[in-house]
Structure formats: structure tokens, C-alpha cells
Amino acid sequence: MPISGFVFLLEGSLLSPNPGLIFWTAITFLLLLVLLKKLAWQPILTALDEREKNIKSAIERAENAKEEAEKTLEENKKALQNAEVESDRIIKEGKEYAQKMKDEIVEKAHLEAKKMTENAKNEIEQEKQRALMALRDEVAELAVKGAEKIIRTNLDAEKQKAVIEGMLEDITSIKN
């Protein structure tokens, strides 16, 4: 009885060793390992790795594109701002230039007008002087002629009177 119990502990219990089973487990497992390594793990793991890399690079590319776009946007904004400033400046300059030009032209016109007035005044003055000189000469000549006539007809009052009247008539005719 104790012997049969001991035998069953060896052969029919949960812990009984079985070399055949150990052998088959090892063989089955090793074969499975080799087969699945070739058949499945390598392709699947490479596919997983590749997909991982793809996704990583796609994310990276998207990130780069985003950055690029942001940069471009920023640049565009800056360019727009610059353009606005530039246009403002150009308009301002144009206005200033126009104002300056206008001022210059008006000044010039003023000067011209002034000059012309001056010239006209000068001419008038000169004409006046000339006229006065001519008048003076004429008067002097008349006076000389009158004196001559008076000396020639130096006889009676009636005659003198007629001479003076004749002279006055001459003067008035000249004056007219």
C-alpha cells in the first residue's frame, strides 16, 4: 500500500515529472519559435517599425509645414505693414513736395509781378522826365522866340500887346 502510493505520487500526480513531455515541449516550442520568427514576427515587427517611422516622419513634416506657413504669414504681415508705412511716407513726401512747389511758384510770381511793377514805374518816371525836359526846352525856345519878337517889334503898346497875345496863343497851341 505505501509503495503503490509512492508510485502514484511519481506517475499520476500533479507534480510527476515526464521526460517525454519535457522533450516535446522543448521541441515544439523551439520549432514554433523558429517558424514564427521567420513567418510572422519579422514581417510584423518590420511593418510596425516602418509604420511608426512613417507616422513619425509625417508628423514631423506636418510640423515643419505648419512652422513654414506661420513664418510665411508673419513675413506677409510684416511686408504689408512695411508697404503701408512706405505708402504713407510716399504720400506725405508728395504732399510736401507739392506744397513746396506751390510756394515756390507763388513766390516767383510775386517777385515777377513786383519786378514788372518796378520796371513800369521806372519807365513811367523816365518818360515823365523826358516829357518835362522836352517841355522845358520848348518853353525856353518859346521864351527866346518871344523875346526875339518883342525885340523886333519893339514900338508901341498895341503892338506889344498883340505880340504877347500871339505868344500866348502859340503856347496854348503847343500845350494842346
Binding site: 516550442f29 517558424l35 514564427l36 514576427w41 515587427l45
Partner: protein, 313 residues
Amino acid sequence: MNRFHPTKIQSASSLFVVFLLSFFMAMPSGFAAAEGSEDAHHDSEKLDAIHHVIDGQYFDFSPFGKLKLPTGWIVAGFDISPTRHVVMLWIAALILILVFSMVSNHYKKLSKKDAPKGISNLMEVLVDFVKEDIAKQNIGHGYQRHMPYLLTIFFFILICNLLGLVPFSATATSNINVTATLAIFTFFITQISAIRAHGIGGFLAHLTGGTHPLMWVIMIPVEFIGLFTKPFALTVRLFANMTAGHIVIISLLGLIFVFKSYMIAPVSVAFALFIYLLEILVSFLQAYIFTLLSALFIGMAQAHEGHEEASAH
């Protein structure tokens, strides 16, 4: 990075616990088996939970009879004739090869931009899980080298566990021979990666625990035993988990026959169904834990050696 950092004291105490456990496990099973043997002569109809989960030379399709497996394959003095657990291992391997040849065919047709569908997608989720959450987390640098082993052991254990839930089949992973063999693979890979990471000198230096030479008398045996507690824990954990559920189910159903009453049947069936559903969870969980701990041990073997070298300078 690592979730567990067992110290030397912990590994020594876990060794003790595991020894106790195995002692208790051997006792009742031995008795039960002994009873079963005695009863087998007198009453072959008697329900025996242990007999139900252990290995055998046949598939029990009762009430449709039994399928006897070939016997007498003796090589070099060892009987290597296939038992039902061996056949279950082959079935699991076959299923894996079929499924993954389908999946890899699908992958070959797949362009770079497409995502896999159906079963490939399911498998990819699991593969990715093993890769990201088990290997990368626990091994870290150079985890790619161990991916084939971790993936194979994960799927192999998972399929064996799940096949155990199919009626008339058997759970190969509830056999300590199977779990021990798988754990031995992990053990060898762990030691090889430790030696590869730090050379034989570093591996031996690690056995001294980095302590004073006077302490070596204690440290070397502790560290040496510590090497074996890890695979031993792996062995017992998977074996016990996969055995326990089945024994609980058959015990619950056995209550009907023990009480010889139909009244007990609804309760038994309800509880058995609950345990059965739990077993599905446990199947995934134990496959995960075995793989996780394998990865963890490999990671520890690599990192620990490197760390000790760094502190030695």
C-alpha cells in the same frame, strides 16, 4: 523603469514560500491520486478532480468514449509517446502557425499607408502590446533581440491556456513539466543576456552581491539560489493558476454528484460559469505575467550587471 525590484531578502523569502507551496501541493495531490488509484480498481466512475487535470495517454470524450493515443515511442530509454498535453501543444502550435501565416500574408499585401484589418489588426494589437508595454518597458535598450522569444512565449501560453477551456481538450500549461520547460528557456535567456551584458567576470561578480569577501560564504549561495527562484516562481505560478481554475470548476460541478441532488445544480453551474469566465481572464493574465516577468528578468539581468560595473569604478 522596472515595476518590481526584488531585493536579496525578498528573493530568499520567496524561495522559502515557493518551497512551502510545492510541499503542500505535492501532499494533497499525492493523496488524491493515491485515492484515485485505489478507487480506479473498485469504482472507475468516481469523479476525481486531480485525475481530470493531469496528463494521460488518451483524450476523454465521455460520454462518447476515449481516443487512445499511440504508445511505446521509446527513444534512448525515455518514453516520448505523445500524451494529450503533447497533442494540445501541437494543436496550439498549429493554430499559431496557421493564424500567423494568414496575418503575415495580409501584411505582405499591405501597402505602407494601410492599417491592417480583422484578425491581423487583433494580432497587431497584441504584438504591439508585447512590444511596447512588456519588452520596451522592462528590457529597455536592445529589447528587439528578445522580441521573437517574448512574442512566441506570450502567444503560445495564451493559446494553450485558451485551448484548455475548450470542452474535451486539456490544458497543457496546467502541467508542471510544460511550464518548467518554458521557464527554463527564460532562465537560459536571462543568464545568457546577463553574461552578454557584462561578461562572465561580471556575471560571477554579481553572484557575490558586491559585498565584502568575508560575506561571500553567505552571499554566493543566496545569489546562486536566487538565480533559480525566478524560473521556479514562473513555473509554479503558471502551472498553479491554470490548474486551480479547472479543479475549482470540476469541484463545483462535482458538488452535484456529492450531494446527489438536482437542487444544487443551478448554484454549481452558476459558480462554475463564473469561474469559467474568470479562467478566460486568467488565460490572458497568466500569458501576460509570464511574458512580463520573463522580460523583467532579462531586463534586470542586463541592467543590474551594468549598474554594478558602474558602481565598482
